[in-house]
C-alpha cells in the first residue's frame, strides 16, 4: 500500500537526486578541466575515453562476469597511456609551431575534432552502434525517508573521492605546485625550471584516465553506445566553463549546482524544462561571471 509522502520528504528526495546528478556532471567534467586548465588543450575527443571506460565496464561484467569496478584497472592505465601518446605525438607539434595560445586553441580544436571522428568510427566498427546497459548496484538506498539509487550514489562518492585526491595533489605536493604554476603562467613556470611539457603531458594523460573512470561509474546507471561520447564532452565543457578553466575542485561544485538547480527546477516548474533550466543557469553565469564561478578576479 502506498503511503502518502510529505512535501518535505519529496523535496528532500528531489534535492538528493539533484546532488547525485550534479556529482555525475562534476565527475565527467573533472578530467576535461585538468586537460584544458593545466595542459591547455581543449580535447573534443574527451568523451570517446568516457565511452571506452563504459565499454570496458560493460564487457567486464557481461562478457567476463567480473565486478565492473575492476575494469578501472584496465581502462584507466590504457586511457592514461593513450592520452599521453596523443599529447606527445599530436599536440607537441602544434604547440611548437603555434605563435600564441589563440592560434594553438584553433589548431587543437580542429585536430581533436578529427580525432573524435576517428575514435568514434573505430568504436562503431568494433563495438557496433547498439545501445548497451547492464545492472550493477541497482538497489535503493533510504535516507530519512528519501530513496536514491546505490549506483548513482557510488558515482557521486567517486566524484568526491577523485576531487579530494586532485585537491590534495595540487595543494600539498611538489607535482601539484608545478601544475598550479603552469596553470597560472606556463611561460613563467618554465623560467622557474619547471619542465612544462612533461607536466602538461602528465596532466593531459591524467585527464584521459579520469574520463575513462567517469565512463565506468556513469555506465552503471545510464545506457550508452559507441556514439554517446560527444554528449558527455559537451556536458563536461559546460561545467568546465561554469566553474572556470583550471579550477579543478570548483568543477565539482559547479556540477553540483547545475544538478540541484536542474532537479529542483524540474520538480517545481516542469520536468520538460530541465534542459532549458540548465542552459538558463549557464547563460546567467556567462553574463555575470564570464570567466567562471570560481576564478579569482
Amino acid at each position: 500500500m502506498l503511503v502518502a509522502r510529505g512535501t518535505g520528504v519529496v523535496l528532500f528526495e528531489v534535492f538528493l537526486n539533484g546532488l547525485l546528478l550534479g556529482g555525475m556532471y562534476g565527475l565527467i567534467a573533472l578530467g576535461l578541466n585538468i586537460q584544458y586548465g593545466v595542459a591547455r588543450i581543449l580535447n573534443l575527443a574527451y568523451g570517446e575515453f568516457f565511452v571506452a571506460g563504459a565499454f570496458t565496464a560493460f564487457f567486464t561484467i557481461m562478457l567476463w562476469q567480473y565486478n565492473p569496478l575492476l575494469s578501472l584497472f584496465i581502462s584507466m592505465p590504457i586511457a592514461f597511456a593513450a592520452n599521453w601518446l596523443i599529447y606527445q605525438v599530436l599536440m607537441i607539434p602544434l604547440i611548437k609551431r603555434a605563435p600564441d595560445q589563440d592560434a594553438l586553441d584553433a589548431d587543437v580544436v580542429l585536430v581533436t575534432f578529427g580525432l573524435f571522428f576517428v575514435l568514434q568510427g573505430l568504436a562503431l566498427v568494433y563495438w557496433s552502434g547498439d545501445l548497451r546497459g547492464y545492472t550493477f548496484m541497482s538497489s535503493p538506498v533510504h535516507i530519512l525517508g528519501a530513496t536514491i539509487a546505490m549506483n548513482r550514489l557510488l558515482a557521486f562518492l567517486g566524484a568526491c573521492l577523485i576531487a579530494a585526491i586532485i585537491f590534495y595533489v595540487l595543494r600539498f605536493t611538489r607535482i601539484g605546485a608545478a601544475l598550479r604554476a603552469i596553470t597560472i603562467d606556463p611561460v613563467a613556470a618554465s623560467l622557474m625550471g619547471i619542465d612544462v611539457r612533461r607536466y602538461s603531458a602528465l596532466a593531459f594523460a591524467t585527464g584521459g584516465a579520469l574520463a575513462a573512470a567517469s565512463g565506468m561509474l556513469v555506465s552503471t546507471f545510464i545506457s550508452f553506445s559507441a556514439t554517446t561520447g560527444v554528449v558527455y564532452t559537451l556536458k563536461a565543457l559546460i561545467v568546465v566553463i561554469m566553474a572556470g578553466v583550471g579550477r579543478v575542485t570548483g568543477t565539482l561544485a559547479a556540477g553540483l549546482l547545475l544538478g540541484v538547480v536542474e532537479s529542483l527546477g524540474g520538480y517545481l516548474i516542469d520536468p520538460a524544462l530541465t534542459i532549458a533550466i540548465n542552459f538558463a543557469l549557464f547563460m546567467l553565469i556567462l553574463l555575470l561571471r564570464p570567466t567562471g564561478l570560481f576564478t579569482r578576479a
Partner: protein, 405 residues
Amino acid sequence: MDRRTLLKGGVAAAGLAALPSVPAQAQSAPDKLRFGYAITMSGPLGPGAESTVVSQYKLWHKRVNDAGGITLKKFNKKVPVDMVSYDDQGKPDELIKLTERLIQQDKVDILLSPYATHMNLASAPIANKYQYPVIYSTATTTKSYDLAKKFPFAFWQIVQPVEATQPLTEYLADLKKEGKIKGTVGIVHPTVEYGVEMHEAFVNNAKKAGLNVVVSKSYPFGAADLQPVVREVMAANPDAFVCMSYPPDTFMLTEQSKIVGFNPQFMYVAIGGVFPSYRGKFGNDVNGILAYGGQDTSVKGYAEYDKAHRAMHNRPSEAGALSAYSAVEVVQQAIERVGEVDRTKIRDEIGKGKFQTIWGELHYTDQRCANPWAVGQWQGGEMVGVFPKDKSGAKPVQFPKPKWS
C-alpha cells in the same frame, strides 16, 4: 513500289521477326542492382537505428547475395545486390541532401528508408518526387493517414499511433469492466515527435474507452535523471504506467521504477522495450512488460533468419527490427514479381500484393501495412506479439505484471 522502299520494308520485317528470339538485346539485363540508404549512424538516435534498421539491411544484403541475388524474370537472370549507405548524423537537412545524392549521383535502383519518424517524414517528399517506392519501416505518425494521396510512392510499415494505442486502452477498459482495476493511467513521454503523437493518440483513445488519465508528464529527450518523473506518476498510484519512450529513457524509466519500488499492475514502454539488450539488462524483471511492436517467431523462415542474425551480429534479433527486414523482403518480392526495375510497376505490386515475410504475411491498404504487430509482451523471457488479438500467432496478455525482483 520502288526498290528502296522494298528494301526498308524487308529490313524492318527481318528485324521484327528477329526480335522475340533475342529479347535481351533490346534491353540488356543489369549486372547488379544498386540499393541505397542514408541513416543515422552517430548521435543519440544512432543506437536505435543500428539495432532496428542498419543491422537488418546488412543482414538482408548478405543473405540475398549468398542466394545469388534477386531474380529478374524478364531477363531470366539472378542479379547480385550492391549496397550504398551514408550517415545523416541525425540531421534532417543532411538526410535530404544524401537522399538526393543517392538518387542523382549514385543512381540507386532502390531506395531504403531511414530511421525515426521525423527523419522518414523528411526524406519521403524527395523519394516521392523522383518516384522511388519506399516502405518506411520506422515511422509512426497520425499524418500517415493523409500522406497516401500526397506521396503515392510511400508505404508505411509499422503500426500508427491510433492503432498502436487502441488495443491498450481497450484492454484496460475490459479490465475495468471486469472490476480488476479502477481504470487509472499515468503516462509520460519525451518531447520528440514520436512521443508527442503516441501520447496524444493514447490520451484520446483512453477518453473514449472511459479510462482516467490521472497524471501526465513530459521530459526532454536525453534527460539524465527521470526519478522525479517516476515519483510523480507513483504518487498518483495509477493502475497502468504508460511510457511513450525512446531507447535511452525506456531503460532509465524501467530502472528507476524498480529503484523507487513503483510496481504498477500494467506497464507499457514504447521504443526499445523489445531490444534484446533490454532483457539483457533487466533479466526476468522484463516479464509482463508490454512494448511497442511484436512478433511471432513461429512463422516460416524466422528460424533461418534468426540463425543468420546471430551469426552476423552476435546477438538475437529484436521485434522492432523485423519491420525493417520484412520491408526489404517485400521490396525484393515485388521486384521479382515485376521481373525488372520498373519503379512504378514495383509500387503497384507493393500496393496490391500479399507478401510472406519473417514478420508474417503482409499486405497494404491505402499504402499502410494492413496488419502489422501493434503490441508485444515479455512472457517467460521471450518477446511475443499480443495485439492485434486476431493476428495469427498472437498470445493472450499476461496480467498483472509481476512485482520487481
